[in-house]
Symmetry: C2
Subunit: 557 residues, 2 copies
């Protein structure tokens, strides 16, 4: 069996200009990055708005397990399969963070014969978007600290700086640090920390901005600190939104690549769904909607995180709701949710599958609460038995949900034809009546959090730490109490406890801290022990990476 990178390196790619032609983009509409990657120029994005709008298919999944779900793989395979059955489909994905690439084997470019390419470029620096975001994030930190150091005209309380630095790596050592040591010429001593770039508010802003003007408006609104009088200080107060926008101007342009089967794929923006809003950029999704009759996109981690945020945060900004939602599950992962350890997943286990189905059932029920038609995709593994497949299909039928096997990893588009036909049929026959899950448009933060915890997670009460309670009171004073909420929660469980698999019930969720992200336009609620900077494992994937004399990647995946 070939590895992902072997398949990638053996594939003959079309020049990206040819891929662009398929969606009526010319050479002048592109900013080339090598022969197989391009950014779309702003003028072309403007022109594309005149095109009709395609149907939107959101791919999400059950809660991830170490067994693997393959959401990106199914997203790519479904896009390829839709083209195979004669539809005009394009794909819209997030771009990977180098942190996990260096840490644990696995990327965000799909796998097997359902990949976006060139996978090694996309998984490394791609077109530099992550670097631009990291740079803008840290330029803001430097400018902020310099302001305090050089006289502090804005009267900023250095103990109440909330803007953190960022690096696109897994680096636990940088979670809690002190900066500005070494005496007066070396800055003002204070506590600080680094988040991973994908959790930076600037990443969220890049993904939500509709153009340069909106980008600057959002950057200007970022709250970076409080004064000694506890008044919020923004980027606008520091007058550096122009400089930050300048650093981000090219990163804001969506990237175009292709799948193994030359389906156009927009890969742009990459916030994690556990600690950020988990969706690719508005500009890329809109470009995709104006490029194809069907757009297949994904949101990060399980439907409790990525899809919830897609539906509650992204959709109102995108001004377009999904026409169908595909929930990806694997029999192996459901068996883990049913209590089987990773080492025993290859053995048939009907009881565990039945028990673990509760996780999938909960996500099906959750997605239906938004009024969008749902289809289940079983991402097939070699170890799946006939009996298990039959059972899973029956369980889905009991939930009255359409279900299809997908074997795009092994067979490419041919393995996704049934799924593609069912998704098209669903869109043709079932209307999407998207609506918010919140009772009132202007629910306050606690009402919104309670709704998400009870309706989506299946929990009981929301517990606020003393810190979070104080923050709720302040936020009310600042007029931030009716903003959307972006939950930061473990991806492994529907609850805030990663050890609770399946569909846990009878649990409370603890809100540890609230972080205002006024540029993104939401408040992040940190639950449980979730961290905004991951660490590396004992044996990082980096140990197996290499490059040959011609510059070809080795051991990347």
């Amino acid at each position: 069996m070939k590895t992902d990178i072997e398949i990638s390196q053996a594939t003959k790619l079309a020049p990206i200009t040819e891929v662009a032609e398929k969606i009526d983009l010319t050479f002048d509409d592109l900013e080339l990055h090598g022969k197989y990657k391009a950014k779309i120029e702003f003028a072309a994005l403007d022109r594309m708005k005149e095109n009709p709008e395609g149907k939107l298919i959101l791919v999400t999944s059950i809660n991830p397990t170490p067994a693997g779900e393959g959401k990106s793989t199914v997203t790519v395979g479904l896009g390829d399969a839709l083209n195979k059955i004669g539809k005009k489909a394009v794909i819209a994905l997030r771009e990977p963070s180098l942190g996990p690439v260096m840490g644990i084997k696995g990327g965000a470019t799909g796998g097997g014969y359902a990949q976006v390419l060139p996978m090694e470029d996309i998984n490394l620096h791609f077109t530099g978007d992550m670097h631009a975001i990291t740079t803008a994030n840290n330029a803001l930190s430097a400018l902020l600290d310099n302001h305090i150091h050089q006289g502090n005209e804005l009267n900023i309380d250095a103990r109440r700086v909330i803007w953190k630095r960022a690096v696109d790596l897994n680096d636990r050592e940088l979670r809690f640090i002190t900066v500005g040591l070494g005496g007066p010429i070396n800055g003002v001593p204070r506590e600080d920390g680094f988040d991973i770039t994908v959790a930076s508010e600037i990443m969220a802003i890049l993904c939500l901005a509709t153009g340069i003007t909106d980008l600057k408006r959002r950057l200007s609104n970022i709250v970076i600190a409080y004064t000694f009088e506890r008044e919020p200080v923004t980027v606008g107060d520091l007058r550096v939104e122009g400089a930050l926008a300048l650093v981000l101007k090219d990163a804001l342009k969506p990237n175009l690549v292709q799948t193994i089967y030359q389906t156009p794929a927009f890969v742009h923006g990459g916030p994690f769904a556990n600690i950020a809003h988990g969706c690719n950029s508005i500009l890329a999704t809109r470009a995709a909607l104006h490029s194809g009759d069907y757009v297949v996109t994904e949101a990060g981690f399980g439907a409790d995180l990525g899809a919830e945020k897609f539906l509650d945060i992204k959709v109102p900004n995108l001004e377009k709701a999904p026409d169908a939602i595909v929930i990806v599950a694997t029999i192996r992962a459901l068996k883990m949710h049913g209590g089987v350890p990773k080492t025993e997943l290859s053995a048939e286990n009907i009881d565990a599958l039945t028990a673990g189905f509760s996780n999938l059932a909960k996500h099906i029920s959750n997605m239906r609460k938004y009024g969008v038609p749902v289809v289940v995709a079983i991402n097939e593994f070699i170890s799946d038995t006939e009996k298990e497949i039959t059972l899973l299909k029956e369980l889905c039928e009991q939930e009255n949900v359409k279900v299809e096997l997908a074997s795009v990893w092994e067979k490419g588009p041919d393995g996704g034809i049934d799924l593609a036909k069912t998704v098209v049929e669903t869109i043709d026959t079932e209307e999407s009546n998207y609506h918010s899950i919140f009772t009132h448009e202007d629910d306050d933060l606690t009402e919104k959090i309670e709704t998400i915890v009870q309706e989506i997670y299946g929990g009981n009460d929301v517990i606020y730490t003393k810190k979070a309670q104080q923050q709720l009171a302040s936020f009310k004073k600042y007029g931030w109490d009716r903003l959307p909420v972006c939950m930061a929660k473990s991806q492994y469980s529907l609850s805030d406890d990663p050890s609770k698999l399946g569909a846990p019930s009878d649990f409370d969720v603890t809100i540890r801290e609230l972080v205002p992200k006024l540029g993104a336009g939401f408040i992040v609620a940190l639950t449980g022990d979730v961290m905004t900077m991951p660490g590396l494992p004992k044996k990082p994937a980096a140990l197996k990476m290499d490059v040959d004399e011609q510059g070809n990647a080795i051991g990347l995946f």
Copy 2:
């Protein structure tokens, strides 16, 4: 008078493929980055080695002052002027760091009608080289700290980690920090600090490496820490040179851009000359040597720093010495060296010019010690008077050195014709007999430092702090005591005291600390108060930066 960015934005650029054609590079030899920037593929670099080797012209300058010298401007203008007089010339420059761009107005792309373009791209992210270096640098830090955290098999003493993190910004707040706070799950507490990326050993390695294999060898040799037994620990011990080389594989390819007059320009690598070795990459300089009959290149800051390191560190690796050295001076700057404050530079001042000439005279004499013919270029300013110009020419003639006025900033190539002709004539008539300034090939560190301090700086004794003395003893034990030396010193003075202008005498130089850079292959000697992380000024240039809705930069310069 138009600003640099206005001139840049008003220039009609040739597609970079056409510029490449001038030096016999085809579309397949290039990795395009937009329409006007490209990287040269490794296969093309190999093929170019068969071409004949051009003449090498090194442009350097007097010690910089706030009055401005315009070394990059003269480098670009001289390249354009050589083409204008019918020679086939190309340019090889360093790429700018975003730190100073955000901090103080001024970049490394020349000025007026002697610029490399597109200046806004080159001064911002360019082709991502700086970001790749920053990422490799910090990935190494994360992998090192993770190793210690996860059991510390190599027995690394966390108090003796010497590898620092890096960011391509001016950020004094990060000079001295503590990391790994917050308890056992958040890493091992220790002291750390960030250098600016251009001071990273990985930048030096990228600029000295002759290919991927040499890159890996050099990365592997980096000393990152010491064990509890005080034995050095290298990247090779950590087994991550492959991963770091993978992150750097594209950054290693030289970048090709053009001047306003479409002269091909290789802009690649950007170590500062005050805290690093100050020269662009070996691969780019070699590519340039195989592309043109004349290559105009520059080294950072004054001839005491950039040119000294070009001649003592780069030349042995490049295996090619300059055929001529051009020393750039301005009348304004020489008057500052003669004691005039910045506010009074526009007034004619014969005495100050005479006094300040001592700085230029010292650099002329220094460069001649290497056996290379020298030409002086006076970079003309509007405020220069007839009498001052005549005097400066006379003073040069007394030193028996050729001197030409250059007005390339105002007039482009037409303003550099005299200089170009004189440089060509010098190369045609005077032989370059490059030789080292060191008495013996195997001078030890103290002998080399003493030679540089006495012969180049004009100082008396070298004083070692206690720390430096202990390091000298350790380095002897490790067998590092005969490596080349890379001096880190204030750029403003020939001494290690930035307030000593002109040609100071009767001073000692203090070596504060020595830093082994075994991957780069040299030992950095930190003198005086020189810092490897700059700070921002009270009113950073960032405050005036902006971008319009179409993505055009505003206020960049």
